[in-house]
Every structure is written in C-alpha cells, then in structure tokens.
C-alpha cells in the first residue's frame, strides 16, 4: 500500500497523509478509548489520592453494574429495544430502498431521495421535538385519531416505548435506506426478471434473489442502526418517560450527575462491548465479512 501511495502522491504527500491518519487514529480514537478503559478499572478518587495507595486496579465498577438489578434491566431493555428499532427500520426501509433502486425512474428516485434528505438538514434534537409535539397528549396525532373516530380518549404515546421506537426509526432511517439502496441497486435487474420469468411470485423473488444479494447492505444498515439506537441519548430523553430509560441515560448520569467518571467509563465500556458483540453476531448470521460491509 505504501508503494502504491508513494507512486501516486510522491514521498512528502504520502508521509503527510499517513501521519495525519496515524495522528487521527492514535489521538482521537485509541488514546481516549484506552483512557476510558483505564478509568473503568480504577476507583473514583479525589485528585489528591490519585497515584496513591488507594489507586489500584479493581473490578468494583463492573461489580456495581452486575449487582444493580435496575441497571441490568435497563441494559437488556436497551438491547432488546435497539434490536426492535433495527428490525422496524429494516421493515420500513426495504420497500423504500427497493422502490428507489429498481422501480422509480431516475427523476422519481432523485425527488424521493431529496425529500428523505431535506429533513435531515435539521438538527436531530429539533426533529425529535417535532415528534414530541406530534405525540403530545393534546397533540395533532391524538386530534386526528379522535376526528377519525378511531379513539374516544387521547392516548399517552410518550408514556412507554412507542414514542422512543417511532422517534428512533425516523431518526435512523437514512442509515438503513442508503446501504440497502446501494446493495439493491447493484443487483442486475435481469436477475429479478429471470426469477419472475421462471414463475416466481414477488415474495419468492425477494426471498431468493433480492434479499440474498442485498445481504451485505442489510448487515451494514442493521449494524449502523443498532449502534446508533443503542448509543442514542436525545431520542429517549425527549420521547421517553422515566419508565422507558435508555442505558445511555444511566451513563450520562454517572458522568455528569453522579460525577463518577470511573463508574461511567465502566458502563460506557460495557455498551461498547455490547456493540462489538452485536456487530460480530450480525456478521456471522449474514455470513458477511468486514470487507463486504465497507463496500
């Protein structure tokens, strides 16, 4: 790779590129991560006590987590809900991505993509607030359902997980649509036509031809959506209730309300491990390698 880069850019520019990438990786990714891991294995101490006799490696911070039933429950709920968000986003995105990639004319596809992207020019917090307003007890959604005669009293959407799920599906849909779109778009349309021509209905054509081809895209979309959902803070804070807390909120509390960075670091590290495990499992299930996902 060095050879290739040198031939293309010359020695000075190659050095600059490689060292910038190195600095980025070391200073912005590896060192902070390492410091966080280091924090998580130390007790929370006053500045004066750091480096003293009490400053020893310990698993206390992790023990705190495993001994706290509520935190454990929230952790697993976060996993489950993130999986649910990922699944829902996939279900919503797949038809959309298929339409964009194979059905729509170029003009229609461009218009559709534009309509999808424009809302994302607005800050995530504001977009989430929009859902907060829509879902409000006396908000437009309740009014609409009431006017249609579907309900006779308003529903508290923001009480449980409904608001959080809907808000997240909306917030992360593009991260699912784009990898799916790319994957489906690269499928030779004649493959679909051939399956149809051999007698396959639409269901089978998707099951046997489109979905297997789009697998890397599905895996990428699921991984991205899951990681964003599991690590989301704004959506659960705004659209959730005290009964539907997210694990990120616990981490936030340890850092900024409990003031215990060491404890917070342990929790954050657990979330990171969770995400790595999820990525690995998804890659196994979909039988895709890192290379397929990076495409």
């Amino acid at each position: 790779m060095w050879q290739q880069l040198r031939n293309r850019f010359g020695v000075p520019l190659t050095m600059a590129i490689v060292s910038l990438m190195g600095i980025w990786l070391i200073v912005m990714v590896l060192l902070p991560q390492w410091q966080m891991v280091d924090y998580s294995f130390h007790p929370s101490l006053l500045p004066a006590e750091r480096g003293g006799v009490k400053d020893v490696w310990s698993l206390t911070n992790y023990a705190t987590f495993f001994n706290n039933e509520i935190h454990l429950a929230i952790f697993f709920k976060t996993i489950w809900s993130s999986v649910l968000v990922t699944g829902l986003t996939l279900i919503v995105s797949y038809p959309l991505a298929y339409y964009l990639a194979k059905v729509a004319t170029p003009g229609q596809a461009a218009l559709c993509l534009l309509l999808l992207i424009i809302p994302f020019w607005i800050n995530e917090i504001l977009r989430t607030f929009a859902w907060y307003i829509i879902f409000a007890f006396r908000g437009p959604l309740n009014e609409l359902l009431f006017a249609l005669g579907l309900i006779d009293r308003p529903i508290r959407f923001l009480n449980g997980d409904t608001g959080v799920l809907v808000g997240m599906v909306y917030a992360y849909i593009l991260f699912m649509v784009f990898p799916l779109y790319n994957a489906i778009e690269s499928l030779d349309t004649n493959q679909i036509r051939a399956a149809r021509d051999l007698g396959a209905g639409w269901g089978r054509t998707h099951r046997r031809i489109v979905i297997p081809h789009a697998k890397p895209g599905i895996a990428t979309g699921c991984i991205m959506t899951f990681m964003l959902a599991a690590g989301s803070y704004a959506v659960p804070s705004l659209l959730g209730s005290p009964g539907s807390r997210w694990f990120t909120q616990i981490i936030y509390n340890w850092f900024f309300e409990g003031g215990d960075w060491n404890q917070g670091a342990a929790y954050a590290f657990l979330l990171l491990v969770l995400c790595i495990v999820f990525v690995t499992v998804v890659m196994r299930v979909f039988k895709v390698g890192l290379g397929d996902i990076a495409k």
């Binding site: 030779d188 004649n190 493959q191 036509r193 051939a194 399956a195 149809r196 021509d197 051999l198 007698g199 396959a200 209905g201 089978r204 046997r208 031809i209 297997p212 081809h213």
Partner: protein
C-alpha cells in the same frame, strides 16, 4: 403442447415515442422464428410483450390460442434466455436449473431427476454442484438454456444470447441451439442483430426496422427476394442502382440507371413504368471476365482486389457508372484470374436478370401491414 404465438395488431408507445407500430403476426408451434434488425428497431420490445414484461399499448398477444395480454410474466408458458444470461450467481448449477421447478412446488427428487436430464441434454452432466461463477462462457450459456427448458415452456424466447461469446463458440452454439430446438420441439423466438445467426438457424425471419416488420420469410427467400429497400440493404451485401422504370414485362422490369445499357431485374412488389426504383445485384451474382469477352454486357475498371479466403472481392468502377463490389472465385473458367483481373486493368461483367431484384423506391414501398399480411397468408 401448443406453442403457437399470435400477435394481433399489437403496438407499443412510450409517451410520444412509438416503439412498435401496429403489428400482426403468427408464429407456428415448433417453429424457429427470428426477429432480425439493428438495435433500437423494436425487436426486444416485441419479445418483452410476448414474455409479459411489457403490456402492449394496443392489441392482443395469444399463446396456444389463449389470450395472454393481461397475464403476468410469471404465469405465462414462456421462458426467456437473457442477453447476459442472468444466471443466479449465488446459487449452484442445480439450484439455478431447479429454481423454476421449486417455484412450481415439485418435490426435491423429481427436481433433481429433471435437472440431471437437462444437464445431459446440454452436455454438462455432472457439473450440477458447481457454483455458477466457475463455469466458462459456453457452459453458462448451456446452463441458461437448461434453466429455461426446466419449466417446460411452450415458447422459448432468446434475447441475443450468443452475443457475449467469441466467434468460434458462437458458431458452435448456433448448431447446438438448432439441435436442441429440433429435439424439444419447442417454439423458439430468437432476437438478434446478427444476420448470420438469424439466417443459419431460423425457419422464418422477420426483419424489423423502426418499429415495423419489413418482411417475414424463410432465410433463402429473404436473401433472394427482399421486398423492401431496408431488407435488401440490411441482409447480406448488395450493389444498388437507382433509376427509372422504362418497361415492365411480366415479372421483369427494365430500368434506366444511367448506364450505357438498361438494367433488367425481377420484381414482385407493384411497379409501373415511370416509377423511381432501385435494382439490387449481390456481389456473388456478377460474372466477371476479361476485357475482350464481348458476351458480357458491361465494362469497368478494377480498382481494388482483396483476398478473402474462399473468394476475391473486387471493386470495379463501371464505365459511366458507379463502383460496384463483386465476389469472384479463384478459378473462373476460361479466365486467367491473376493475369486478366489485375488492379487497374479493364474487365467486363454481367449478371443474370433473374437474380437481380427491382424494388420501387420509398413512396411506393408497401407498408409493414401489407407485408405482414402477405407473409401471414403465404
């Protein structure tokens, strides 16, 4: 198994663009029928209407006497072989061939038995477990045929399936396709822009241009008796002489093309004295002889000479006329080809009027409708 295909007044429009002018056509069961034409002539559109990928803007498509115009593609008794073959790359050869049977709910053992049978037909027994990616171009071709035949179609549609192969293989596959067609008795509808393919394999060929069928005929008739200028120019090579008809006698017309003598040719489409017309003579129909052979009626000067293996191609500028192209065998009786037909030298040449074709120019040209009716009733 009735593979009769009937198109009645089908037309296809995309917005303002008419891809297919109203066309009627009957294809017999068990026939090897080709659509021949340059790209953009509408032949693929026509094929897509038969397969069901497109619904015609007007008219009806019937297969085996049943109206199929509104029947979706997956319920038609047709199977298609795509230009890029469109084998399923994530499946094995067996899975590819069995796909259509799986769709029809046929059980595993019967499927495998049928797949083995088809692999034998296409001479690829034993490669069922291979991934498609490991096959060579010709093998992929055969698997595509086997996959299409697996569903026992009444009509097999082939969309330029040989265009991706190299020349040798292409010629070999022509023979093989024809053999498979004979063995299975299925109606083959073949789309191509390669006249060699159309002429060697087909029972009948429809030549298309700009959304119209120009002529439907068996390959020999198409070559010998083109009915439109397009066909005369598109199929094979031709020398053209434009002029005015000065006399018509039975099936022979005499044309003044500005040459020292009038040209005579055979005609089969309506023609009257005074009409603008074109006379066509194929390069191999010229008789070329030495400059002093007075039995030959035209004179000329040889401009270029090209060795083509089985024959020589001469470009000859006729006295007071255009430059024509003639194919001459290496040995012509009574002529020392090397000495007497040299570049720069004069020669004499002639043709037999029976083989030359006279066609009325554009305005008087029969429309595709008439051509189709003539062919359909023939």
């Amino acid at each position: 198994m009735d593979g009769h295909v009937s198109l009645s007044r089908v037309a296809m429009r995309f917005g303002d663009f008419t891809a297919i002018q109203p066309t009627s056509l009957e294809i017999e069961s068990g026939e090897f029928f080709s659509f021949l034409g340059p790209s953009g002539c509408g032949k693929t559109t026509l094929l897509n209407m038969i397969s069901g990928f497109l619904t015609p803007s007007e008219g009806c498509v019937a297969i085996g006497g049943t109206d199929m115009t509104r029947v979706p593609v997956n319920r038609r008794p047709t199977a298609m072989i795509f230009q890029n073959l469109a084998l399923f790359p994530l499946m094995s050869v067996y899975q590819n061939i069995e796909f259509g049977l799986e769709v029809r709910g046929i059980d595993r053992h019967k499927r495998r038995a049928r797949a083995d049978e088809l692999l034998e037909l296409v001479a690829l027994s034993g490669s069922g477990d291979k991934p498609v990616a490991e096959l060579s171009g010709g093998q992929k071709q055969r698997i595509a045929i086997a996959r299409a035949l697996a569903v026992e179609p009444r009509v097999l549609l082939l969309d330029e399936p040989l265009s991706a192969l190299d020349l040798k293989l292409r010629q070999h596959m022509r023979t093989e396709l024809k053999a498979i067609q004979r063995k299975t008795g299925i109606t083959f509808i073949y789309i191509t822009h390669d006249q060699g393919e159309a002429l060697t394999m087909s029972d009948r060929v429809a030549v298309m241009s700009e959304g119209r069928i120009q002529q439907i005929a068996d390959p020999m008739t198409l070559y010998r008796q083109p009915q439109t200028d397009f066909v005369a120019n598109f199929v094979g090579e031709n020398n053209r002489f434009r002029g005015r008809v000065i006399a018509v006698d039975g099936e022979m017309a005499t044309l003044d093309a500005g040459l020292p003598i009038p040209l005579i040719g055979h005609f089969s489409t309506p023609l009257r004295p005074g009409d603008e017309a074109t006379l066509y003579i194929r390069p191999e129909q010229w008789r070329v002889g030495s400059a002093d052979d007075q039995r030959l009626s035209l004179g000329g000067v040889i401009q270029t000479e090209r060795f083509e293996g089985a024959w020589l191609t001469l470009e000859i500028t006729l006295d007071h006329g255009p430059t024509i192209r003639a194919h001459v065998p290496h040995a012509v009786a009574g002529v020392n080809v090397e000495a007497e037909l040299a570049v720069g030298g004069a020669c004499r040449l002639d043709y037999s009027p029976n083989q030359a074709v006279v066609l009325a120019s554009d305005e008087a040209c029969p429309s595709s409708e008439e051509v189709v009716d003539v062919a359909a009733t023939a």
